[in-house]
């Protein structure tokens, strides 16, 4: 049997983003505790852990969605491209969100046409030229493997699509502005198995172009999809490693219990 590398050599990967000593509070509830994580460039990194351990909270730190609610507080750093701390108060959260896209747990298309949903990000970011928008909408829908299904009805309401199609539309919406990192929060938890496997295939394709950070409740999904996996428990980052290593030879007892299905 080949020796698995069980301790990730962090210096060997090129990080797209690096979480450093991140603490997060909802009001006075301490939800993330000194979390550290490396998100390798153009790879898929999965966050796993029992429900309520803080995966979504961590994910939403990356695009500063927490800034929308005045009771949320955090300190620590997320260093992007080894250059900027995107959590710094000096950094405009809107700039951050333009470069980091997000796909939510339940498909959340806007009450607009298919076309306008994908064009939305381009428009809010100031793009006016119809030809440019047309072009980018088409490219995004193709990357999201939705183009063939919708090219004849771009003007019809997004709500008419099936759940799986809506989620791919949301992926296209995130892709349209060409972000460098896309955050996925349990993107398939509301979908049937076929739609789920479509989306998984899609993500495997996408990692050629973008870095992916995905929260998943399913260990099988992490194992199938992710290059790297991080296990969180009660707001702490317990273990982070290459997916195979984390599942086959976990270093930590809690990780082992979790991946062997002994709790959670």
């Amino acid at each position: 049997m080949v020796e698995e590398v069980s301790q990730l050599n962090v210096t060997a990967v090129k990080p797209k983003a690096e979480v450093i000593d991140l603490d997060f509070y909802y009001g006075s509830t301490h939800v993330l505790k000194r979390v550290n994580l490396v998100v390798p460039d153009r790879q898929i990194t999965a966050l796993i852990g029992p429900s309520g351990c803080g995966k979504t909270t961590l994910l939403r730190c990356f695009n500063r969605l927490h800034d929308l609610y005045p009771d949320n507080h955090y300190n620590g750093e997320i260093v992007f491209d080894s250059a900027v701390n995107i959590l710094s108060p000096k950094v405009d959260p809107i700039e951050v969100r333009m470069r980091i896209g997000m796909v939510f747990q339940r498909p959340n298309p806007f009450p607009k046409s298919i076309y306008e949903n994908v064009a939305y990000g381009l428009r809010v970011q100031g793009e006016r030229k119809t030809s440019v928008i047309d072009d980018k909408v088409e490219r995004a829908l193709k990357s999201a493997a939705l183009w063939d299904e919708v090219k004849d009805r771009l003007k019809s309401p997004a709500y008419a699509l099936s759940g799986g199609q809506q989620q791919r539309l949301c992926i296209a919406r995130a892709l349209a502005t060409e972000p460098e990192l896309i955050l996925f929060d349990e993107p398939t938890s509301a979908l049937d198995p076929i739609a789920t496997s479509n989306i998984e295939e899609l993500m495997a394709e996408l990692k050629q172009q973008v870095t992916i950070l995905i929260v998943t409740h399913s260990m099988q999904q992490a194992a199938r999809l992710a290059d790297y996996t991080a296990f969180m428990y009660l707001g702490e980052m317990v273990e982070f490693n290459r997916t195979l290593a984390l599942f086959n030879s976990p270093l930590n007892k809690q990780t082992e219990d979790y991946v062997k299905g002994r709790f959670g």
């Binding site: 969605l65 005045p70 969100r97 939510f104 306008e116 939305y120 428009r123 809010v124 919406r173 995130a174």
Partner: protein, 338 residues
């Protein structure tokens, strides 16, 4: 008993339960149906009353004269029965009111739902609701005694300016039009003041219904918008507003009905003079104002004067209906745009 389930002995208990449940269900359904029918019934009863009383009126007054004559003086010795002046008064005050209430109500709703911090909202909401609870007669006198003098002061320089200009023009055409429609001074009774105050009165109605509609838009939609890099305003205007459109448009439709049906403000501040004009600087009477005016006098039951109330009431219902239908189709088209 054609249900095969009920024949199988094993299922007897279940089918008995099912029968009793279906009785309760039927009773509930019936109660709901009656509740729904009672409002339909009331509407029908009102329509029947209006139409049957109007029939007598239309035996005396040809319907064509009623709909096309531009003069309304049913209480004079030499009565004329053209409804147009009342319709023009109603439409003009309504239009002035809506041009205040729809933008202000919508902006207030967007602010309260998407921008206002919790504390600000807690102060503004009750104040707005208080505004909606003030009796309309108070608004009427507010228009007459406060807003009209204010408007007169603001208007005076404009009137003087236009008048000076008019005098230099050769007679006829533009000069006549300006002379008639842009008076030197604003009268003590005018539709502008009544309409503006009516708009202020309707604003809280629109803002509170629209705000509820916008607040019930799911958070995921807002976050989806923010996540693409949208600002708070872009999110409010491009996502939350259209998503809440069905609730917002029903607030507009309610606002329209409220404006068309408003009585006291126009009766007090617009002058009760039936003039066929769409110029808000003029005084005018509306359908509702005429109805109270007649109802307050002592007019014998069954007389022609008395029946004018019902003919006017019928027109009021029709105007409201038409405006509602227009509003409905506009909002439907707007909604279908996405």
């Amino acid at each position: 008993m054609s249900d095969p389930m009920s024949q199988a002995p094993n299922f007897e208990v279940f089918s008995r339960k099912r029968a009793s449940r279906s009785v309760t269900e039927r009773v509930i359904e019936l109660v709901l149906l009656l509740a729904a029918l009672s409002s339909v019934g009331t509407t029908i009863a009102i329509m029947v009353l209006l139409i049957s009383e109007s029939v007598g009126f239309f035996k005396e007054v040809p319907i064509l004269e009623f709909l096309t004559s531009k003069s309304w003086s049913p209480l004079f010795d030499n009565p004329e029965y053209g409804i147009l002046p009342l319709v023009s008064g109603t439409l003009t005050t309504t239009l002035v009111a809506l041009s205040v209430a729809i933008p202000m109500g919508t902006i207030a709703a967007i602010y309260l739902s998407e921008f206002a911090p919790q504390k600000v909202r807690e102060v503004i909401k009750p104040v707005l609701e208080l505004l909606a609870g003030i009796p309309t007669v108070v608004y009427g006198y507010f228009a007459l005694l406060f807003v009209t003098p204010l408007l007169q002061q603001l208007y005076a320089p404009l009137g003087t300016l236009v008048n000076g200009f008019t005098e230099k023009l050769p007679a006829g055409g533009l000069s006549d039009w300006l002379y008639n429609d842009v008076p030197l001074d604003l009268g003590g009774f005018n539709m502008l003041s009544a309409g503006l105050v009516m708009g202020i009165m309707i604003t809280p109605l629109i803002s509170s219904i629209s705000e509820d509609a916008m607040r019930s838009v799911p958070t995921e939609l807002r976050e989806g918008s923010y996540a693409t890099g949208a600002t708070r305003f872009q999110t409010a205007w491009k996502v939350v507003f259209p998503a809440a459109m069905s609730g917002i448009s029903s607030s507009y439709i309610l606002g329209i009905s409220r404006a068309v049906g408003e009585t006291m403000i126009v009766a007090v501040a617009a002058g009760l003079q039936p003039i066929f004009t769409f110029n808000p600087l003029n005084s005018a009477a509306t359908i509702t104002a005429f109805i109270v005016q007649v109802s307050l006098g002592d007019i014998p039951h069954g007389s022609l004067e008395y029946q004018t109330i019902f003919a006017a009431g019928l027109v009021l219902v029709l105007v409201t209906l038409v405006l509602n239908i227009i509003g409905y189709f506009l909002s439907k088209r707007f909604r279908e745009e996405y």
